[in-house]
């Protein structure tokens, strides 16, 4: 009969358990160690180099700086436009003679929104908002043979004379008409039209020749 040392059975069980634990620990350590080593070659350097100083060439530095200056200039220009709209009661859009029935002239209205100026068949200005009434994109400036302008976002078409969107357009609301004034070179009002289309002044084209188109702050304040 073999003498069984009860302790040895318990010890063996304990040893196995310790071995399992040890094995797991060693595997864990090896796995994590290998991972850290490989990561340092694979992706860790990507993360760490992110924070290091960028080695820019002289040309790159010049380009970055000149682009920054251009952007600052653009921001300044936009803010100058805003300042002008705050301080002036009227702003020139274009000479009456330079208006075209086909290609609108973009300008910024008093509410800092894009707007367009065309000329009508009789030579009178057509001044409308260029902010599409569907979802706010800027409409194109080129009128087609039917006298319609297109919004590139969702292809709404608007009649430039009435501002009304053509049937089937996503936009349902007409482009608002803006009030304008024709002034001579002395600054005298020759003809004023409010946003509803009511005119005050002379409509004689001979007298209006050589005048300039302006937008007026008083009409924008009403709108705002």
């Amino acid at each position: 009969m073999t003498n069984k040392d009860p302790n040895s059975e318990v010890n063996k069980e304990k040893e196995i358990k310790i071995d399992d634990e040890r094995r797991a620990f060693v595997k864990a350590a090896c796995g994590l160690g290998a991972s850290l080593f490989l990561l340092s070659i694979g992706s860790l350097e990507k993360f760490l180099r992110f924070f290091s100083k960028q080695d820019l060439t002289k040309e790159q530095q010049e380009q970055i700086l000149s682009e920054k200056i251009q952007r600052l200039k653009q921001t300044t220009e936009e803010q100058e436009l805003q300042l002008e709209r705050l301080s002036k009661d009227y702003i020139k859009v274009a000479e009456l003679d330079s208006l075209s029935p086909i290609k609108g002239i973009y300008f910024i209205d008093y509410l800092m929104r894009p707007a367009l100026a065309f000329s009508d068949d009789d030579g009178m200005p057509i001044v409308i908002s260029a902010k599409c009434t569907h979802l706010g994109c800027t409409v194109g400036q080129n009128a087609d043979p039917q006298g319609q302008i297109l919004c590139p976002c969702h292809l709404s078409k608007f009649n430039i004379k009435t501002g009304i969107p053509i049937p089937g357009s996503p936009a349902k609301i007409p482009l608002p008409r803006l009030g304008w004034s024709l002034m001579d070179d002395k600054g005298s009002n020759l003809l004023t039209q409010d946003p509803s289309g009511k005119q005050v002044g002379t409509t004689d084209m001979d007298k209006l020749a050589g005048s300039s188109l302006y937008i007026l702050k008083k009409f924008a304040e009403g709108e705002a």
């Binding site: 992706s43 990507k46 993360f47 180099r49 992110f50 924070f51 290091s52 960028q54 820019l56 790159q60 970055i64 682009e67 920054k68 952007r71 600052l72 653009q74 921001t75 936009e78 973009y106 910024i108 509410l111 800092m112 929104r113 894009p114 979802l135 706010g136 994109c137 800027t138 194109g140 400036q141 919004c151 590139p152 976002c153 969702h154 292809l155 996503p170």
Partner: protein, 370 residues
């Protein structure tokens, strides 16, 4: 007992059942917890996967903060600087972009599968409500983050979506019609999308929303640990596995695979290559708008219906959906899992069709290419 005391007692019992802190011990959470094993067990990994992508977002977002400048004149340039000149800047930025999409995808699938498995049944209602809140907040993350690069598609798409809010004013009576306009200007910080908008979207995206989400997430995770995984199927599962260590081991493997997937995507495929390059040029407030302005893909489920259907119908649909989402545990309390699965499939079909084929449908119906 007075009515007031009865009400208080019911409230205390309700909170006690929903947040059983007495189970917050090592034995319950680590040693005893088991996870049912059945045909829907794969869905149990989705929550963890969403968490993983969220953590990637947080880490890469912090990295990007070192270089990003939240001003209208410098935002786009700082993003270009990160992409062109910062060492591995393109990789970090691309990782952030890809991870955001993956996170939202996992989150939506997680919500749908949780719904189908009726994991919102008592006492897990507050887990569902917290999850629904995080779903909405994640979309808010996407909305605010989309504006930060300040390129054409970012600004124009934001303008379009904010304009949609104001559109709803046309359908409201009397003095209420002005409320959407006020809300829009509150979100914008002014009458147009500009510096004020960028600053507040930056604050929301980087500080406010993360803080709120961390809080809700902590409660959500704590509740899940306390209650354990829901049964998920009608018949009692014959098999279970220990949450610790087996479920966690598998979860880790899933995270490993997800990490590899997103790493390879971030290294090899610029997210912006799926779109036309003019959309990523610097925004010009006074210039013409380029074609192809659309929100991010995860907003297509509202974007295309808005293009195709009457505005009021889509608005009502969204309000109803949002309300049902938050009140799901009570609305569907007595609905069978079979019915919930059918509804989940219908929701999935709607989301897949609008997201993948929305532009095709729009072209067919309206002849408009978007």
């Amino acid at each position: 007992m007075s009515d007031k005391k009865k009400g208080l007692k019911r409230l205390v019992e309700f909170m006690y059942d929903r947040l059983p802190m007495h189970k917050f011990n090592f034995e319950h959470i680590v040693l005893e917890k088991e996870v049912p094993v059945h045909r829907m067990s794969w869905a149990y990994y989705l929550g963890g996967l969403t968490l993983f992508f969220f953590m990637v977002q947080v880490v890469t977002g912090i990295f990007l903060l070192f270089y990003y400048q939240p001003t209208v004149s410098d935002a786009h340039a700082s993003i270009e600087y990160i992409t062109k000149y910062v060492n591995n800047g393109f990789f970090i930025r691309n990782l952030h972009t890809w991870s955001s999409s993956c996170m939202i995808l996992c989150l939506v699938v997680h919500a749908i599968t949780t719904f189908a498995m009726k994991a919102f049944a008592p006492p897990r209602e507050m887990i569902w409500v917290g999850g629904a809140a995080m779903l909405i907040l994640t979309f808010a993350f996407g909305f605010t983050g989309y504006l930060l690069p300040w390129h054409q598609i970012a600004v124009n798409a934001t303008k379009v979506m904010l304009q949609s809010i104001e559109e709803s004013g046309h359908y409201l009576p009397g003095f209420l019609s002005g409320v959407p306009h006020y809300m829009r200007e509150l979100i914008q910080g002014g009458s147009v999308v500009g510096q004020a908008t960028l600053s507040r979207f930056f604050a929301l995206h980087v500080v406010i929303l993360p803080l709120i989400v961390f809080g809700i997430l902590a409660m959500h995770l704590l509740s899940v640990q306390l209650h354990g995984m829901s049964q998920g199927v009608d018949t009692l599962p014959k098999k279970t596995e220990k949450f610790f260590p087996f479920f966690i081991l598998k979860d880790l493997i899933v995270w490993g695979v997800a990490f590899l997937g997103i790493f390879i995507l971030a290294v090899c495929v610029p997210f912006e290559s799926f779109y036309a390059f003019p959309l990523f040029q610097a925004y010009n407030a006074l210039g013409a708008t380029p074609e192809g302005i659309k929100p991010e893909w995860y907003f297509y489920f509202t974007y295309y219906p808005l293009e195709l259907l009457p505005f009021w119908l889509v608005m009502i649909g969204m309000i109803v959906t949002g309300t049902v989402l938050l009140l799901t545990p009570w609305i569907f309390k007595n609905t069978s899992r079979r019915m919930l699965t059918i509804i989940a499939w219908a929701i999935t079909a709607y989301l897949v069709i609008t997201t993948l084929f929305g532009n095709v449908i729009l072209e067919l119906v309206k002849g408009v290419k978007s």
